[in-house]
Every structure is written in C-alpha cells, then in structure tokens.
C-alpha cells in the first residue's frame, strides 16, 4: 500500500570502484565541513545575550502595588483556588489603623507564598485575580541547592516600593502594562 509518493527504494547495488576507494566521498565531506567554518554561528552568548522570549511566556510571579506603593492584594484566595498545582498559600490579616499607606484595602495578605517547584506557570492566578495584584513575568527561578529556597514569600514577590526604588518600580509597572496589553490582544 502506498500512502505517499515520498518513499525512495534503498539502493543496494554493490559499490563501484570510485565509491569503494572512499576518497571522493571523503573529499566531498571535508568540503562540506570546511564550508561550515565560515557559516554564521548559532551560539547565543548566554549571560550577555539572551534568547528572546515568546510573547506568551509565563515566568515567575510578582505582586503589584499601586502608584502610592500600597499593596494591591487583599488575600481573597481566588488565585489559590484557581491554582491547579496548589502552589499558592496565604494568610489574611486585617489592616490596622495607621497602615493605610501600606495596604490599599482593609484586608491584606500577611503571608503569601508560592512554591516555584510546584507551580506549573499556567497563569490561571493572573486571570483569577480581581484586584490587579498578581502577574507573571519573563524570568524563571534560578537554580538552587535547597528546596526551601524555591518557596517564594512576599519579600521575593512584591514589586519594589515607588519611594525606595522608583526605577525598579517603574520597570515592574511597565512590565505589567505590557502583559495587560498582550492579554487584551489575545482576547480581542
């Protein structure tokens, strides 16, 4: 039965003299390898150069702040529920009087942890969040010797404060805007 016309019969003829000497074939092969010396190299010089990420790349998470530096997350737990890998845990706490400059709403996440070894980077948490609080970035977890180090707490996740580090804050904000724009494009 012939499915396609791409099949080629195997040539089992005995080799002729020229083929048996091997030298022409060897010279041809050497010509090919020599031409490769001048070809463009495919190496990406990693720490200096990086491979561009796909526009839909989903990496490590960040927790958003608003322009005054107040945390957006209200510890509603929707991300934890949405998470298929059950990588997110959090403890909620009530905002005390005098903490209005720290947290945007009356409830906040006292503890917010993502286990990066469990996380499958599906981005469901990002979709589930009603408070514009959690986003995925274009970085991935660096290698480490201990499992504990892959459990990212608030100190790793929350973006820098606009007063302490305005540059990094602007960068993170820019990244979030980019992701929002992309998400809009996808839905449109």
């Amino acid at each position: 039965m012939q499915l396609t016309n791409r099949a080629k019969p195997v040539d089992r003829r005995p080799m002729n003299l020229l083929e048996r000497i091997y030298l022409p074939a060897i010279l041809k092969g050497m010509g090919i390898t020599f031409s490769h010396i001048f070809k463009k190299k495919v190496t990406i010089q990693y720490p200096e150069q990086t491979r561009p990420f796909s526009p839909v790349f989903r990496g490590l998470h960040i927790l958003n702040r608003d322009e005054d530096g107040r945390e957006n997350c209200t510890a509603c737990g929707l991300c934890a529920v949405a998470c298929p890998a059950e990588a997110i845990t959090m403890d909620a706490a009530e905002r005390l009087p005098g903490e209005e400059n720290l947290y945007r709403e009356e409830k906040y996440a006292a503890k917010y942890e993502i286990n990066m070894l469990r996380c499958i980077f599906c981005g469901f948490c990002e979709d589930a969040c009603p408070k514009d609080a959690i986003y995925l970035t274009e970085t991935f977890a660096p290698a480490n010797y201990s499992r504990q180090s892959f459990i990212y707490g608030k100190d790793n996740l929350v973006i820098p404060h606009p007063k302490d580090n305005p540059e990094e804050f602007a960068k993170a904000k820019g990244l979030i805007d980019e992701r929002k724009a992309k998400a809009k494009q996808e839905t449109a």
Partner: protein, 352 residues
Amino acid sequence: MNTFLLTVDWPLVLEKVIFIAFIITVSLVVAMYATWGERKIAAFIQDRLGPNRAGPLGLFQPLADGLKLFMKEEIIPNAANKWLFILGPSMAMFTAMLTGAVIPWGNQIELFGRTISLQIADVNIGILFVFGVVSLGVYGIMIGAWASNNKFSLMGGLRAASQIISYELAMGIALIALLMTTGTLSLGEMVKQQQDGWWNFFVQPLGFLIFLICAFAECNRTPFDLAEAENELIGGYHSEYSSMKLGFYLFAEYINMFISSAIMATLYFGGYDIIPFYDESAWGFSMNTMAALGALALFAKIVFFIFFFMWVRWTIPRFRYDQLMNLGWKSLIPLSLFNMLATAIVILLKKG
C-alpha cells in the same frame, strides 16, 4: 680524565642542550595550543564558537585545562600494577618527545662565530630512528592499558597495538619508495635535495597519500581512534587514568600529531623550503634570515597539517574494526607494494 674533558667540544654541547630545550618547549607549547585549536576547529565546523571565556579568544583555555589536570586527584586503582601504571604515560610522553631529535627544523645559522645546525642530530639513518621510536610509542599505550587491570583498557591497548603494527607495514613500504628516489635515509639530506627542485610530494603522490593515512592511524586519530573509542570502550586504554597521568596521554597524542606533521612536511613537502621549484637564495638575504624564514615555512606547513588532522577528525566517523583491518591489509599494503614496484620500474627505465 682531564684530557678527556678537554677533548669534549663544550660549546657544541651547550648549543645542543639549549636547542633541545627550545625544541621541547616549542613542542609542548604547540601541543598545548593544539588542544585549543582542536576545540576551536571542532566548534567552527559544528557552527559553534568554541572556548572564548578564558582570556581573549579563549587563549588561556589550555592553561586552565592544564591547571585542572594538575589539581585533580591522582588515582591508582588497587588492582593495578603500580610501577607499570606510572611507566605507561611516562613512556608515551617520552617517545613522543624523542622523535623531534632527527627533524631538521631549519637550515644552518651563524651565531657568535659558530655555524649552528638547526637539527638536534643529523643521524644518517634518521628515518629508521623515527620508525623505531614511533613503534616504541605503542608500548606506552600497551603498558598503560595492561597495567590498568581493566578489560576495556586492555581491549583499547590491544586495538592500538594491532592497528599500529598493521599500518606501520604500509607506512614503511610507502617510505621505501621514497628512499629509492632520494637514495638516502638521512632527513637532513632529504630536505637538502628538495631545496631548489621538486618536492617529494610531486614525485611520490601515492606514497604521500599512503603515508598520510598511516600517520593518522599511528597517531590514533579519528577515523582510526579505535583505541579510545569512548562509546565502545569507555575511555579505551586511558579509562583508569586521572589527573596529570591522563594529561600525559592526551598531551602525547598532540605531540605525536605535531611530530608527524613535521615528518610529513620534511619528507614530502620540502621541510624548511619556502617555495617549490625556486632557488630562494636569489633573494639575497643573509644566512640567518633565510634560516629563520625557512623555519617559519616549516612551521606553517606543520600548522597546516595539524589543521588537516583536526579537519579530518571532525569530518569522518570512526571505522569499524574489520573495516580498519581490511583497509590496512587489503588496500594499503597492496597499494604501497604497487607504488614501490612502479617507482622501481621508473627508476630503472630512467637509468637504462
């Protein structure tokens, strides 16, 4: 006793000692940078960049590799024969360095009123010396392989031994044809004959081809690297070796490559002759300048041959063992015998 000491030509001894030290240093440095060149060429042929982190263009890479080999733990297996285990790599290194003694590295130079020959020893049986030392080289591999007390090492050693013996035959017969045309066994004399006229390559192209193939086999380089076929024999004869003893084996391979390139350049490509069919003395340079230029020309030829060794290594896959033996015994030996016969007939016809 005193009169004996007076008869010794001390400046000659000093001159030779300095020259020997120089040649050994050069072969070590060339071998060192051959490892760098090997990795670079392998990379370029495979569209990669090769080592480029240690120093500019990765030029300090051999130093880093050497340091790594020195720092590593020296392991001698319990069941190994300790004495022979150490003798193996020493011997490989020793024989690799020894061949350089008879190669004419350049013409004569004049320094401090003395005429100094740029050849450690112009033995009148130079080529036989080379053969003797090269066949001694297999002992380094065999002894190391046997002393490891490991079946894979032993297999690698056996392969190396049988391969070198098989290919030495064809190599020797190919050289006999060359000896018939040149009529001398001295390497210095052979180079002098090639100075202004035909390089031996143009007289003996088939002989050169056979010699080249056999040189690949003698150096245990791909496509003849069955002795260390890593996917069949782990590491072959140096499976059990670590640290600088392994380094010596690897180093010996590169020195062998350097030396056999030098021998090929000397025998077939005019040695320190710069341009074939041309009398360079017409340029009117002084003797020392000419000798330096000649040495540079020889070096350029050697570098080309080393490149050629590497180029072939990264092009051709390894032979299967029966193919190796077929090629050696059924193709190369008849071919070299034919070459010898044809040369003899031509020589006789020319005479008659």
